[in-house]
Symmetry: C2
């Protein structure tokens, strides 16, 4: 475990980005950041754990909202500076109530359009 | 265009991460970094353009290898600090010859296993 965790190339803040992908339909749900301990927690607990850059604390996805991400598979990229985590997402991944944080499409004129619907609160 | 480019939350180095996803099968291919001009180029030219952090220069994906990424759709996340770019990928996205840079899976014991095959050189 230590060997793998040490092999990752963390940025100046000790973080690697983690792309979270819906293992059911392949949708990219969000990108979060993990430090060494968050990567370890994600691998060992089977729940995505991030380091919140704004709050400077650990953040187990869904801990308060219930919208947990059960880890289905963890992948590391060629440069070992980025992770891909495939998950079984409960409810909305986005704090704004959308299934995915990428709910806005941008066209070639840079016009933005919301292309996903918000999930029901009771989802 | 300027309004959208200015609305993105770039990091201390003036960059946003861009997740590149295969628009055909949904595979996450790579994560690159874009500065303001690279985002603009990606939107206007229809070819993914990144800022190389190691080489400190623009990098049009496939310019030398021929493994271009034709942009199919650009999405921005809720916090506007990350992009998702769906592409039509020619050949390998990874410089090591794999279709995706995420060719290694990591299990709960942090053991790594290569789970993708390299593409043929002639692809």
């Amino acid at each position: 475990m230590d060997q793998f965790l040490d092999s990752l190339k963390y940025d100046a803040n000790g973080l690697v980005p983690a792309v979270v992908q819906d293992c059911e339909n392949g949708d990219v749900l969000m990108v979060g950041y993990m430090n060494r301990d968050a990567v370890k927690a994600t691998l060992t607990t089977g729940r995505t754990t991030f380091w919140s850059r704004s709050r400077q604390k650990f953040w187990i996805k869904g801990e308060t909202s219930g919208n947990i991400q059960a880890v289905n598979g963890v992948y590391v990229d060629c440069d070992k500076d980025c992770l891909l985590v495939k998950v079984d997402q409960k409810g909305a991944a986005c704090h704004e109530g959308y299934r995915s944080c990428f709910f806005r499409q941008v066209d070639s004129d840079a016009k933005e359009e919301i292309v996903l619907e918000k999930l029901m609160e009771s989802y």
